[in-house]
């Protein structure tokens, strides 16, 4: 046989071997985590009940209902809109594995963009999983992509024209759930997910909806609560109340002309009072050093420490790091403050719940303590 043919065969065998090895890892990401809802759960559903096109797809995210059985407000908490923002996901898991509502109802979607949990972003060198040592042993959680998987929605256009505003964004944003609201029943895969969540808000008559996120430490909008203008006073009151817990948050108003985001479209398209919260997450940052699962959990990065110590950048980063427990703590305490402020102004409907750790509990005992 000629030499070049032998080399071609050898190369083909190597390609198939490498593809097989990587395929094992990629396919492992498609298995969802086991979650353990608190006994107070009253119903489990999925997004396909609000958009039938999602049935059988990886966008058919799980929804957990906790109805106290007593009249009150309905609250929706969304984690995992961006699956690479782990504190949002884990905060929602802490809620669903502990919450006991006393008045009103909680609806929790821990992995809103469930498709994004099946892959990582290209060229980021991101880990696929991180583990937490909980009461039941080591639990593995996925660290996903910012956007829906390209296997579910491909190809990306060069320019994404947001429906219905026509606002033009980078083509990559077509798979970003937080640019896809209000969505449409027969739109792209991600628009269908957005549509399902909007339908859920309308059909379940959600009163308060909170979307949990993270961002890189160098982004100006971190440790913030972003509000639609109709709930700015509740947001402002929550920020001031959080100060009594020694937690500083910036308050931001949702820009009217930036379309597709949860805090804009939920507020414009439904009666709900929408809030979005951000914490600071070093693994998303451009300055970061080693990118691994330890960085997700510890939030401690040498390069960010250098940036703070040398005063090279104006960034918000604690030298002790931004561990997952603190980030989840901020989200949980922020949710409590928003709901307390809502209860202060709501004349007829309240939301009362218990068995959720405080920020101080999470710092002292670690987030793992509150996961089953």
């Amino acid at each position: 046989m000629k030499k070049h043919l032998i080399i071609a065969i050898i190369i083909l065998v190597i390609v198939i071997t490498l593809d097989s090895i990587s395929a094992i890892e990629f396919i492992a990401m498609k298995s969802p985590e086991k979650l353990y809802p608190e006994n107070s759960i009253t119903k489990e559903a999925s997004l396909s009940e609000y958009c039938s096109n999602l049935k059988g797809t990886s966008g058919d995210a799980e929804i957990y209902f906790f109805d106290s059985g007593n009249p009150g407000a309905t609250v929706l908490v969304l984690g995992g809109t961006h699956p690479n923002e782990s504190a949002g996901f884990i905060s929602a898991v802490v809620l669903l594995e502990n919450i006991i509502p006393k008045e009103g109802k909680f609806i929790i979607i821990p992995q809103a963009c469930s498709s994004g949990f099946t892959c990582t972003d290209p060229m980021e060198g991101a880990p696929e999983f991180f583990t937490l040592k909980t009461k039941s042993g080591l639990r593995k959680f996925r660290y996903g992509s910012r956007v829906s998987s390209p296997l579910d929605q491909w190809p990306d256009p060069l320019v994404y024209s947001q429906y219905p505003s026509g606002q033009q964004l980078s083509g990559f944003e077509t798979r970003n759930l937080n640019r896809s609201y209000p969505g449409r029943n027969d739109g792209t895969f991600t628009e269908e997910v957005g549509f399902a969540i909007m339908e859920l808000i309308k059909k379940e008559k959600v009163d308060v909806a909170i979307d949990l996120h993270e961002a890189a430490p160098e982004i100006p909008i971190i440790n913030a609560i972003i509000v639609h203008e109709k709930c700015r006073d509740i947001g402002a009151s929550a920020v001031l109340n959080l100060e009594f817990d020694n937690l500083q948050y910036a308050l931001e108003i949702s820009p009217k002309k930036f379309r597709g985001l949860s805090h804009r479209e939920w507020g414009d398209g439904t009666e709900v009072l929408p809030f979005l919260m951000e914490t600071s997450n070093p693994i998303q940052g451009r300055l970061r050093g080693r990118t691994n699962s330890e960085l997700i959990v510890s939030g401690k990065d040498e390069q960010y420490e250098r940036a703070v110590e040398t005063k090279s950048f104006r960034i918000s980063y604690e030298l002790t790091g931004e561990p997952l427990s603190i980030r989840v703590g901020r989200h949980i305490q922020g949710i409590k403050a928003i709901l307390d402020s809502y209860n202060d102004v709501s004349k007829d409907k309240k939301i009362i719940f218990e068995n959720i750790p405080s920020y101080d509990d999470l710092i002292k005992n670690g987030v793992e303590t509150y996961l089953k």
């Binding site: 070049h4 043919l5 080399i7 071609a8 190369i11 083909l12 190597i14 390609v15 198939i16 490498l18 593809d19 990587s22 395929a23 990629f26 396919i27 892959c119 296997l151 491909w154 190809p155």
Partner: protein, 48 residues
């Protein structure tokens, strides 16, 4: 629809790369062709 068009495009390019892999005599270029094959096969088989 566009999805299937792109799958067909990727499949055609993969076939062309395979043909080139077996006809190319310079081993360095064969390795470069192999680097294209890795992600294309993963996309055709809907793994990544």
């Amino acid at each position: 629809m566009l999805f299937w068009i792109y799958i067909i495009i990727v499949s055609i390019i993969t076939w062309i790369v395979l043909v080139e892999l077996f006809t190319e005599r310079d081993w360095k270029k064969q390795i470069a062709l192999a680097m294209l094959l890795i992600p294309f096969l993963l996309r055709i088989f809907q793994i990544k």
